[in-house]
Amino acid sequence: MEQLLLLIFLPLAGAIITAFAGKSAKMVSTIISVASLVLALFIACNFIPNASTQFEANLPWIADLGIRFHAGIDGISMLVVLLTNLLIPIIILSSYKHDYKNLAAFYALILFMQTGLLLVFTAMDAFLFYIGWEAALIPIYFICAFWGGKDRIRINMKFFVYTIGGSLFMLMGIIYLYLQNPAHNFDIQAFYALNLDSAQQGWIFWAFFIAFAIKMPIFPFHTWQPDTYTAAPTQGTMLLSGIMLKMGIYGVIRWLLPIVPTGVHDWSSLAMILSIIGIVYASLIAFTQKDAKRLVAYSSIAHVGLIAAGIFASFNLGNNGVQGMQGAMVQMLSHGINVVGLFFVLDIIFSRVKTNKIEELGGIAKLAPQLAITFLIIVLGTVALPGTNGFIGEFLLLMGVYNYSIWAAAIAGLTIIFGAVYMLRMYQNVMLGKTNELTITFTDIQGTEKLVLYIICALIIIFGVYPKPLLHLTEASVQHLLEQVNQKLTSVK
């Protein structure tokens, strides 16, 4: 319990310190984030990989409204918590070469957001979950709108209103569940225990699903995403794509499936269709993108679509949906690492030549062999080459989708081909070919750039070659989740 509270509020405290740290904010925030990473690792070490919820903190908060500060960690939470605390230091390190104005505020906001994310990933109380959900949104809005690129105000306004609109409907759903709950509290277990008829479940499904679908984003709720990713400062993009997007996936797994299984059951086929459309659609769009950042944004839509498809497919498979679900778990982590890596590489390139326009670049590999190799490894991870972390996730996900329907798998599997097409196109046009007068002055990565990229590549390969710890971490919880869902589903029928 103490560890958990420390884990959650250390970044918050860090944020406050950083806000007043002035020039040394960089250093302070780095220390804090690394400290919280260490703490997370410590917790992970003491974590017993079974289905139980551990390090549980359950304190009174707003008693009159049945709201408690109830947080805990199970396998699924553990994974995303690790992801968060792993990526935040990387993201902070990745910003070292930048000299943003109002440094202190920048890093303070990042750390503040971390607390919000951790709340989302550990909350066992729906209200707390919602608070964390918004608490993560506010700082990212400010990060993107303050340090972002051109047209950032309009774009971020859209992003903000779009996402918060979704989450308000989720709040409506939460209130509804609270009112249905005889105990009149927001405890997740109480929600799991609810027995709602399929009509109620149907619209609660939508109330939640829209919020999550917008966050991930799933086709056709995705149009805020490419603009936002492009306009945001790289660190903002990393936060959005690396961690924040996982909020949606995590929400589906933690709050949607177990609470309204019947609703999901009724609508999951539609959800799957949307996700799979999203895969093909986004991949195709990525083919002809001129801006590398936008290309990666669309690729991330495709990847998330596969994750979503895998989840909904495995949901329908009952207890042998473990593969798909586990795939989703691994892929959450992998996608986080890879996409952060990609955006960092693009950031490095942008910092050198002040453009991410694909056709303006080229021939960088000759001048920056180190960058070329690390970039290649990240690309390979993204196209799910066996031996990289991407493969484990996509393999299991596709298997899950396949077990649901061979055709779905065949279409979703196109991502294997399309991914290779657009990623290699980008790599070729950016790195290979002849150097032009723009890239002729390109210098290879050094310092923190090197460090960050090496870390990322190492993670890509380690998790690709030996994913067992990850799978082991989540397996019990995933099993338990699926059993719970199906037992509830059957009891309804």
Partner: protein, 457 residues
Amino acid sequence: MNIIITISITAFIVLYAGLFKAKKALLPLTVVGLLTALGFTIGAWNSNAIHFGMMQTDNFALAFSGICIVGTLLIFLLTQNYFHAKSDNVAEYFTLILFALAGMIMMVSYKNMAMLFVGLEIMSVSLYILAGIRKRDFASNEASLKYFLMGAFSTGFLLFGITLIYGATGSFDLDKIQAYLVDNSKAISPIFYPGVILMMIGLCFKVGAAPFHFWTPDVYEGSPTLITTFMSTVVKTAGFAAFLRLFAGAFGPLHEFWVQPLIVIVCLTLFIGNVTALFQKNFKRMLAYSSISHAGYLLFSLIVLSANSENNVLVYAAAYTFASIIAFAVLILVKQKTGSDSFESFNGLGKKNPLVALSLTVAMLSLAGIPLTGGFIGKYLMFLNVMGDYQMLLVAFAILNALVGFYYYFKVIVAVWFKDGADIELVTPTQYKLVLLVSVAITLILGIYPAIILNLI
């Protein structure tokens, strides 16, 4: 009782102090008086005393009196070098505001319609004057005349309503009226219904609910900013208290009759308030419209009468009051520097005045209803209250309006932080700093740990 007396006496003392040109003494006197009144309020807690069958200082009354007094206190703190710039007879402002406050105390604690009427009139008449107190300012004139004419007009309806109800029940006493409704719920006199509706009209006018809201934007814009602050925060709160006291209390049994029109009014209010605010170029006017929309949210508490609707209004009103006070305080500062109250004059405020900008941001987040601010808890309670009756469509509609709300509240944040303008450096007097800090603190506390106020009543 003694609350009103204290306030009135303070008013007179201040008036005389004004006569003897003791400008320095005004503010301290007022503050002392109000603090005493506040003391009495707290002292009378749980006493639930009835005064000559005319007023009842139950916790509801006291809680709202408390908010009104504190709000007024903060607003008085904002008078530092505000009026001096404008006119030399400052005492009138103080006196009139105090009288208005006295009237409001009556409004929140009346037990007899007579007191409602008297309190309402005391408040309104003072406000007519305050609105027009800048004699040579056209806007001010126009504001006060509009306010006066329409106010008087609406008073007529209120009175006609009171009369009809009196005719039906033979009494002005709330309890008796309620008793009448309960006893012969089968055979309620047909003139009672129009009575209720006419009173609803009168009160809707006072709280500025559509379609009786038309005076609000013009008057708020025309009046001196400080008076606008007073009107849009304290006055509104008092108005809602009166509304609630009458409809949740006396007319409660007739709920299913007047709830239908109320729902329509709520939707209209939300829609017009939010949508019109969207297009405003003028910060002050935007706040006026936002106050209309907030009236809509506040009326939620009447759509479903539950044990804690009163308390919900209290929380919401508190959150709204303090957030608005911040907004207006900053507006005053900016206007003093730039002379304009358009959004442009807020551009790039954050660069030079982080404190002010930050508190303004908090205020806007609270008004927009972002979690961890009081505004969110307020909205949440309102939604919760309405969801209790599964008014899904209404909530969905409110959510859509809230989304519109984000747009125009964030317009301010955008201007303050993300736009770059003439880097003005505001002169922030200590009292303003105090007000800002207190209000921000209250807003955040309400948002993070609302338990303290949740079951006050």
